[in-house]
Amino acid sequence: MPRSASSDNSAEFAATLYERSGAAAYGMNADQFAAILDDILRKYLLSTSSANPSPSNSSHVSAEQKADFYAGLRLEELALARACAAGNERAWQDFVSRFRQKLHKMALHITRDSASAAELADSLFADLYGVNARDGVRNSKLVSYTGRGSLEGWLRTVMAQEFINRYRKQKRVVSLEEQTDEGVQFAAATPEPTCASDQRIETATDEALAELSLEDRFTLASYFLDGRTLADIARTLGLHESSVSRRLDRLATGLRKRILAGLRTRGMSHAQAEEALETDVRDIRLNLRSRLTQDSGAKAFPGSKTPAQDTGDGGSD
């Protein structure tokens, strides 16, 4: 009777998970908790093992895969979050005692401003509690916590998303008049970045980028596009700063070589390829004002301000 033995093991395993979670303390029974776990399993494991996840596919996942997946879940925090979402009083007490203060610290860490931090934390707390009821049922954000990472980390992520959304909203509603009142000077609209004159450069660059590993590309984008520090990137990837630094150097050097090689295969000579990369006007970083005035012994127009003075650095971009 292998089928029966298998189901016995499964039931035993489910009971173990239920016990480990401590869900009983929050009035959650084993079936409810098993249903939650099943939902999470379907959401993640089946979506990666099958293109069309459905409840019927859950049988295709081996017991070992399930066990591994469940072992990686934060069961006790999952039970706490789901119990809070279900409105269990004791769970809320625990949640508040464990995370209320941390939420404010997180908000301060993200916003760097105590007033905004208080607002952000309170807002998130309201979402977590589920102030907005739908059909008479509280809609708590904690329902979406699945225990894949720590509850604290999840709260930070949700808060960061909320902060970015708020920031964008606020940025969107600031009127031009307000900005003008605040003394904001409006520069001329930035022209759309002009495409490289030679399509071969773009193609060679795209190919070189496509050859990078995902982590390399993430590292490049974080550093060169987002302006993240080595420390931030290192923390994100679980590496040491010096490793990230070496990797970036290697990537920058390697990319350049690959692009040059790609350009040569497209009919450019080495000198032409170098020139194509170097003479891109967007790469020119010159202080035009200093270049223009460095050799002049006396000012051409002493006492007067040249209109081009404020745009003397404009050659950098």
């Binding site: 808060m159 980028l209 060169f224």
Partner: protein, 385 residues
């Protein structure tokens, strides 16, 4: 940092993510290095193209005071070790450099000569023993009953021991080692390497011809008749050696060496748990090293002074009373029932007003199944609520 061509930035910026954004659970698990390879690659693929999610990820990194860098612990500890050794070496290199050594000897010879010229009759007068003399006296006393060699060096133990060895080859290096060991035990903070280098340095000084000349010059009385201790006393008559002894003592008492180690472990220590490993920073979170890697993931910690507690899955509990240098694993149990649930929080009950504790520090351990375990004797006995 090597720059990339602008076209690379433009092409990266032009790329857009193909899929919808990963949910906060996946981003959190990614940041905590808790995703399996397949899912991690999927998230990375999105992150490489999505600036918004990268921003969320960075904003959601743990608080600065809690964790600054989840680092490759081994590399970091190696780096710290290298820095420590480098510091030692740099101090020793500076102080033991040949130019300074010979300059000190030359200055010493000059002073010794002037002392001999000005006060030729006061060579063997007892003077108030300095710390160096006391150390040398101890060294001499140990071997003095059988010694007939002209031991006149008031150097620190190592030099004295070397002098004894030179004079009494039969006593062999064992005696020297014993002496060095005994004398060096005064400063346990110095590493073995430092001690060795100090000994070498001392030997080099002792073998220097000017010192021997100086010793001969002022010991023209029959040395066999004089008590060994008296011969070892007049430190001021051996300025060259005193200078060297001062250098050695300076090394032994070198605040930079001993204090650096003390500071490393006693000051500015910050703790954090990343990926189930307890991390320690000794420079306010700028760099991190692995302090405790248990067989099961650690979930929480608490620290007060040099006392650190760490708890994790399935009831694993550790305690350190020396800032994480050594750890003891505890297995709390009450009436045969062991703590087996995940430890989610540890509280060290300190005096809230002064930050001090009165008597043994009560420890409260909270578990995932809502048990509360308390110990008031450093984890020896427990109560369960």
């Amino acid at each position: 940092m090597t720059e990339v061509p602008k076209i690379v930035r433009d092409r990266m910026r032009a790329a857009s993510p193909e899929r919808s954004h990963p949910d906060p659970n996946l981003l959190t698990a990614f940041a905590e290095q808790a995703l399996p390879a397949i899912e991690r690659d999927g998230v990375l693929k999105h992150l490489a193209l999505c600036a918004d999610c990268r921003e969320v990820l960075v904003l959601a990194l743990p608080l600065a005071e809690a964790v600054t860098a989840p680092i490759a612990a081994d590399a970091e500890s190696d780096r710290i070790t290298r820095i420590s050794k480098k510091t030692e070496r740099s101090w020793l290199t500076i102080l033991a450099g040949p130019s300074i050594r010979w300059a000190a000897l030359a200055a010493g010879v000059v002073v010794a000569a002037s002392v001999l010229l000005v006060h030729p009759g006061k060579l063997n007068q007892p003077i108030a023993p300095s710390e160096n003399q006391r150390v040398a006296t101890v060294a001499s006393t140990i071997v003095s009953p059988a010694s007939s060699s002209p031991i006149t060096s008031p150097l620190t133990g190592q030099v004295a021991a070397k002098t004894i060895d030179d004079a009494r080859p039969n006593s062999g290096p064992l005696l020297s080692k014993q002496l060095s060991k005994k004398l060096l035990s005064k400063k346990p903070n110095l590493g073995e390497k430092t001690s060795t280098e100090i000994s070498k340095e001392a030997v080099g000084v002792d073998a220097a011809p000017p010192v021997e000349d100086s010793q001969m010059a002022r010991n023209d009385v029959p040395v066999n008749d004089a008590p060994i201790i008296e011969k070892a006393k007049p430190a001021q008559q051996q300025p060259a050696e005193t200078e060297t002894a001062g250098t050695n003592e300076q090394l032994k008492n070198q605040p930079g060496l001993a204090l650096a180690e003390d500071q490393t472990f006693a000051r500015n220590v910050t703790w954090a748990i990343m990926a189930g490993i307890l991390q320690r920073s000794v420079n306010n979170g700028q760099n991190w090293q692995s302090a405790l890697h248990a067989d099961r993931p650690l979930l929480c910690y608490a620290s007060h002074g040099e006392e650190v507690w760490a708890g994790g899955q399935a009831g694993i509990l550790f305690r350190s009373i020396d800032d994480g240098v050594t750890w003891a694993q505890l297995q709390p149990s009450v009436k045969g029932q062991q703590l087996g649930a995940d430890i989610t929080h540890i509280d060290i009950q300190t005096d809230n007003i002064h930050g001090n504790v009165s008597g043994p520090t009560p420890i409260i351990v909270f578990t995932s199944n809502n048990e509360v375990w308390t110990s008031r004797d450093g984890g020896i006995t427990w109560q369960k609520n």
